[in-house]
């Protein structure tokens, strides 16, 4: 009379010679697969650690020569010229300006597209539009760069007086188009995750479709939309090719979108592709800039992660 139902099974297994031995250790194969998977996961972690180590080491040797005060308090960035200045702010300003323009384009458009897809579009339309939107995300950024240089900027020159051939505006708009699918797709996920009960609650109070969307659904998805916007910003901050091609390569402490500027990423590309000899102070500037860029995107990612966690809490 076994009270434990398992003991019957065990007894049967032990009695029969054909039954598998239940006490067998985990097979070697299973452990090997586990190790393989852990290794795959470790690659990305180790890569990140490696990048941080290299960045910090090289940046440290840069800061050994140039004090952080010069880096943070100077208003000019001219390390490649005879009269050297190492103020990071012109590069930061270029990055913030192009990113700001990009997000000003992508957030409203992306959010409206997401609202349309999530709340208004029929299933048929959604089945066509969403993949098309994701296709836009697959366009190489070099294409967007030339789009900005040879199409957006010439077009804008008819409208915006004094717009230079290389400028922050055209590059920023092209970047906005580039991050539009990201923002639209993530915002759509956030809107879609809003419980149907909230929509029904709004309808039951006599809300119109649009009333329910703008007063109930979008506010409920606000943290997810915020996370999408921040990821879009992070993407724009890190974008290199578009700004290297279309924004000009002149570090300039300005918020005027009509003139050439240089972003942090474009500067790194310029130095690493140019003929600056390795190991020199000029070469090490890119690690200082890279470290600043890394800290900026890290902060944005942390912020986005927090917002998304809050979204999950709200949806549960």
């Amino acid at each position: 009379m076994a009270l434990d139902p398992l003991s019957d099974v065990r007894a049967a297994a032990l009695a029969s010679t054909h039954a598998p031995d239940l006490r067998a250790p985990r097979s070697l194969r299973e452990r090997a697969v586990g190790a393989l998977l852990a290794g795959a996961a470790a690659v990305s972690v180790l890569t990140t650690i490696g990048i941080v180590v290299v960045l910090v080491r090289e940046a440290a040797s840069f800061f050994a020569e140039i004090s952080p005060a010069r880096f943070l308090l100077d208003g000019e960035w001219t390390p490649l010229f005879a009269d050297k200045h190492f103020g990071i702010w012109p590069l930061v300003a270029g990055t913030l300006l192009t990113t700001g323009i990009a997000i000003a384009v992508a957030l409203p458009l992306g959010l409206l597209a997401a609202i349309y897809l999530s709340e208004l579009a029929s299933d048929r339309v959604r089945r066509w539009v969403k993949p098309a939107l994701e296709l836009l995300a697959g366009v190489p950024t070099v294409v967007y760069g030339y789009l900005a240089l040879s199409f957006i900027t010439p077009g804008l020159q008819h409208v915006v007086p004094g717009l230079a051939g290389f400028n922050a505006l055209g590059a920023g708009i092209a970047m906005g188009v580039m991050i539009l699918p990201l923002i639209a797709s993530l915002s759509e996920d956030a809107l879609y995750a809003v419980p149907a009960a909230l929509r029904e609650g709004a309808y039951a109070l006599g809300a119109t479709k649009l009333g329910a969307v703008f007063r109930v659904v979008v506010p409920a998805a606000a943290s997810g939309i915020g996370a999408a916007a921040i990821l879009g910003v992070a993407r724009a901050v890190g974008e290199t090719m578009i700004v290297a091609i279309a924004a000009g390569q002149q570090p300039r402490l300005t918020l005027d979108p009509r003139v050439p500027v240089e972003t942090m990423t474009a500067y790194i590309a310029q130095v690493s592709l140019g003929d600056t000899p390795h190991g020199t102070l000029e070469y090490r500037t890119i690690f200082a800039v890279g470290l600043a860029l890394f800290l900026l995107t890290l902060a944005l990612n942390v912020l986005s992660h927090r917002l998304r966690r809050r979204l999950k809490g709200a949806a549960a």
């Binding site: 909230l198 029904e200 609650g201 709004a202 039951a204 109070l205 006599g206």
Partner: protein, 296 residues
């Protein structure tokens, strides 16, 4: 055709003892109901606030309601009971045209509100839902709004600007018996309240629009017994002012709160009568089997 209630019979109006219902004698032997003081509503013929006529509803190809004809009396609580999947939620969702919000859902027949068929082509469902409020199974206060804004949400969603919003909030919360508990925390999020409070907030939100009919779709099924008792108490107070339809899978609850009860089974109306009559002298065998717990 549903049977009409018997206003002249003057049966006991108080809530029935649920135990007495489930342990009542076998069929045929009608239990004698003590005649107590005649209660309001027994003399004057009840007025129909709403009336479903041959109401049929579908989800895609599945027909959930097969032609329901059912009156909803004014200033009274009507309970809809029946086993899961009998169409009771679908029925109330047809009353404020929420059924059609679900893709693939379809309705035929009519629901009269006063003299107007709510399925008339000229009726805008958005306007209708202002007059026929609804409370859902799971409390769904708007999480991004404060308690105060939740109460005002209906007015704002309809583009109305009350001249004295504070008075609207207080009146609605008092009617929902929530005022004393939340009057000091009105700016707090609606999601910060307990489940039972959230549900009363949803009731206040619906009442703020001063609806003619209040539909409640299993409003207590997600609540604990204490919160349930509070909502039921509230229903007793609201019944004099509003016309209420409550869907419930809980027969004792129907017996406690409702003046009239309709029993739905597999998309058909089996029986409709005054609650005391339906629970003590059901005409239909299926009603009797259900209320005595033989199925469902």
């Amino acid at each position: 055709m549903p049977p009409t209630p018997h206003p002249g019979e003057g049966d006991a109006h108080e809530a029935l003892d649920p135990d007495a219902v489930s342990s009542r004698p076998p069929p045929r032997v009608r239990p004698v109901v003590e005649r107590t003081t005649p209660t309001a509503g027994t003399e004057a013929a009840p007025v129909d606030k709403m009336r479903a006529e041959g109401l049929r509803a579908w989800f895609g190809a599945h027909e959930a309601l097969h032609g329901i004809t059912l009156p909803v009396r004014a200033n009274a609580v009507t309970a809809i009971i029946g086993p899961s999947g009998c169409g009771k939620s679908t029925f109330v969702r047809c009353c404020n045209r929420m059924h059609e919000v679900v893709p693939g859902a379809r309705v035929a027949g009519s629901v009269l509100l006063g003299d107007t068929d709510v399925y008339d082509r000229r009726v805008n469902p958005v306007r209708l839902r202002r007059l026929v409020g609804m409370v859902f199974q799971k409390p769904n206060p708007f999480p991004t709004m404060s308690i105060r804004d939740n109460v005002l949400a209906g007015l704002r969603l309809n583009g109305l600007r009350p001249s004295d919003p504070a008075a609207v909030v207080e009146r609605a919360l008092r009617q929902a018996a929530l005022w004393d508990e939340v009057k000091d925390v009105l700016p707090r999020s609606g999601a910060s309240l307990s489940g039972g409070q959230q549900q009363r907030l949803c009731i206040a939100r619906a009442l703020a629009l001063e609806p003619e009919v209040l539909l409640m779709d299993e409003p207590c099924s997600a609540l604990d017994p204490v919160a349930t008792a509070k909502i039921e108490e509230l229903l007793h107070e609201l019944r004099t002012r509003y016309c209420i339809v409550i869907v419930t899978h809980n027969m004792q609850q129907a017996a406690r709160v409702a003046d009239y009860t309709a029993f739905l089974f597999q998309g058909d109306l089996v029986e409709y009568d005054r609650t005391d009559v339906l629970f003590t002298r059901p005409r239909e065998r299926r009603t009797e089997d259900y209320i005595t717990g033989r199925f469902g």
